[in-house]
């Protein structure tokens, strides 16, 4: 007792250990439930929604899903760690181009054309799934690089760096080469370049990469469906929520609240900041993959610009920092609203701006503030919540 500090023994005493083990086993099974429910929901949407509401509205539902993935992932950086990133569309577009590159040229390589192959969960869709993950990983790498300056910069300065990142991506993508139309041409170009690597102009078709230049990446097979969007949406939300209620999420939130105190409590703030950027960029990249393969969409360099980034920032600000359900709500509203305001298209931005101003005046903490919608449910108040349910003031 004298040698070991009792402080470390606190909590170590067995308090109904077997009961706890049973609870853990049950929790592990229960941990699969959100995925099962989410995927079931996605399948239902996939097969019944279009028939029920028509193509136009199911497109809006698809857009809402993609917007939620982007806004919820941005909220990991802006809401949880309190860094201010306005380059999220840059990550999205980067991931989108990477994914499109894989399906476009991969499809040509495997099947010799750029059509859709296989039906629901067919071979083409798996190529698409892999390409989205690759897009996410590529964007996550970029997120690591952009996360590094966040160790030294904060507030407005960091915002400018992330804004600059999006613009750099936009300009770089504008400078890319034109698409190559057939696999034979790709082979010819690659072979030519490898045979005589030093000959003038032999690389011109391959460097910069042939992804369409300023007109965008046209002709990508359009694999994105409600199933894939809502499956990825499920994964994003579960990941964001599990992060939020875990030690890692607490560490991220502590960085937002007070960096000096966080350090003094043993939080490695550099690690938390970069981790937040990497995770957020990964999901942005995956969402970019969904976006690039969405029917009727041509992913183009301007998607990386600040206009789109701002849309997602507004969603997180309106939803409430760190509130996953709040951000889902605001992403839904802000994606659906312009569609219903289509008759007043030119006033859309005015409505946006007014909405923001009114919200900042009336409810600066966002729709739900730091709370989740289910924490406001009166029956849950007695339970042990993860974030205090008592409404602030």
């Amino acid at each position: 007792m004298d040698n070991t500090p009792p402080a470390s023994q606190i909590g170590a005493k067995p308090r109904g250990a077997s009961r706890a083990e049973g609870e853990i086993a049950w929790n592990t099974i229960r941990g699969m439930m959100p995925f099962a429910a989410g995927i079931a929901f996605a399948v239902l949407l996939q097969f019944f929604l279009t028939g029920m509401v028509g193509l136009y509205y199911s497109r809006i539902v698809t857009d809402i899903g993609i917007a939620i993935v982007l806004a919820v992932s941005l909220n990991i950086v802006n809401g949880m760690t309190g860094q201010f990133s306005i380059g999220h569309a840059g990550f999205m577009t980067l991931g989108g181009y990477m994914a499109a590159f894989i399906t476009y040229y991969g499809s040509m390589c495997i099947w010799g054309d750029k059509e859709i192959h296989g039906g629901f969960l067919g071979s083409g869709e798996w190529l698409f799934a892999v390409s989205c993950i690759m897009g996410g990983l590529f964007a996550a790498g970029a997120g690591y690089v952009v996360g590094l300056p966040s160790l030294r910069l904060r507030g407005d300065y960091l915002a400018i760096v992330t804004l600059g990142f999006g613009e750099i991506i936009r300009v770089l993508l504008q400078q890319t080469g034109k698409l190559i139309d057939s696999w034979a041409e790709v082979k010819a170009a690659v072979n030519g370049a490898i045979k005589e690597p030093l000959k003038d102009g032999v690389w011109s078709e391959l460097i910069p990469p042939p992804v369409g230049g300023s007109i965008g990446f046209d002709g990508v097979p359009k694999y994105t469906s409600l199933f894939w969007v809502y499956t990825i949406l499920t994964i994003t939300i579960v990941v964001a929520y599990r992060l939020k209620i875990s030690s890692i999420g607490r560490a991220m939130i502590s960085v937002r609240e007070d960096e000096i105190a966080a350090q003094a409590m043993g939080v490695n703030i550099a690690r938390q900041k970069v981790l937040a950027f990497v995770i957020a960029a990964f999901f942005a990249g995956v969402a970019g993959g969904l976006f690039a393969h969405e029917p009727g969409v041509i992913v183009s360099p301007k998607d990386a610009g600040f206009q789109r980034s701002f849309d997602y920032v507004i969603m997180t600000v309106l939803g409430g920092r760190g509130s996953i359900s709040g951000v889902m709500l605001s992403a839904t509203i802000l994606t659906a609203l312009p569609e219903f305001l289509r008759d007043f298209e030119q006033y859309r931005l005015i409505v946006y701006a007014l909405l923001l101003i009114v919200m900042m005046l009336v409810r600066p903490q966002g729709l739900l503030g730091i709370h989740e919608i289910w924490n406001l449910w009166p029956l849950r108040r007695g339970k042990v919540p993860v974030v205090a349910p008592e409404a602030k003031s």
Binding site: P5, A12, N27, R242, R250, A388
Partner: protein
């Protein structure tokens, strides 16, 4: 005067190898020598006080010990670990925890989460276990929660566990800061003016709980405080800083009767000229 005090320190320290050994650290900001030649030997479960007039450099000493500032010179050892030039979170992990003069809780986290955050620094399970909710991760989170609730219970804060930290009363916030620091399993606890703004009643309880903390958790405590009766009552030894220089060290009685300390606080009389 410094020399004789130093000898006494060696005498006390010789009986027991010091837990925290600070050897002649110093820092200057531009031309201002904020702290010079600061030395301290804190034994296990010792309770030392650090006093001095405003601007003497007391909080700077804390910032040096916890890695917020990097000392220009000198060495800091905790047990056998060298701490100078380490990052703040590494120093906390090594076993030095602190509270802040101006309260720095995480206002939008619950009381429980404030404590859990501090308790999690020895967690072993990473991102992947968190996302798939591995058994190890769940067990870790459960233990963390129990540990945090136990600590809150010891300090009578368990009823407030689910309130936001910012909704606590001032006295409770001060208390929570101490609980949070204890949750990191420290060997040395640095308290920066824990009695500031407390009423006499609360100061009494604070004095008792500081002793209780020391005995129960076997931590060494270094206390910055302006409330002299409190310091004189509970501290075993006291160091006095003035303009970054240690002007006196000794037992409360010795410090109270030291001419240089009286001069630092009250000034020298005209008759001395």
């Amino acid at each position: 005067m410094n020399d004789s005090a130093g000898k006494k320190e060696v005498h006390v320290g010789a009986a027991l190898k010091p837990l925290l050994d600070v050897n002649a650290i110093g820092i200057s900001f531009g031309g201002l020598k904020a702290v010079q030649e600061f030395s301290l030997q804190l034994p296990t479960a010792g309770l030392f006080g650090l006093i001095g007039p405003n601007g003497a450099g007391k909080t700077t000493v804390f910032n040096l010990l916890t890695g917020v500032y990097e000392p220009d010179c000198g060495e800091i050892h905790l047990g056998s670990k060298r701490l100078a030039k380490r990052k703040p979170h590494q120093i906390t992990a090594a076993g030095i925890a602190r509270t802040f003069q101006n309260i720095r809780l995480f206002p939008d986290l619950s009381v429980l989460d404030n404590v859990r955050l501090a308790g999690q620094l020895h967690n072993r399970h990473g991102l992947w276990s968190t996302l798939i909710r591995s058994r190890g991760h769940q067990r870790e989170e459960m233990l963390l929660q129990e540990k945090a609730l136990d600590l809150l219970q010891i300090f009578d804060l368990q009823d407030r566990a689910h309130e936001l930290a910012s909704n606590l009363s001032y006295g409770h916030q001060r208390k929570l800061e101490i609980v949070r620091a204890l949750a990191t399993d420290p060997k040395v606890l640095l308290l920066d003016e824990p009695a500031a703004g407390l009423n006499p009643q609360e100061k009494m309880t604070l004095a008792q709980s500081i002793r209780k903390i020391r005995d129960r958790f076997q931590v060494a405590v270094l206390l910055i405080e302006h409330d002299m009766p409190l310091v004189m009552e509970i501290c075993e030894r006291i160091l006095v800083l003035d303009h970054g220089v240690t002007i006196c060290r000794g037992t409360p009685k010795e410090v109270q009767n030291d001419q240089s300390v009286i001069a630092a606080y009250l000034g020298t009389g005209l008759t001395d000229e």
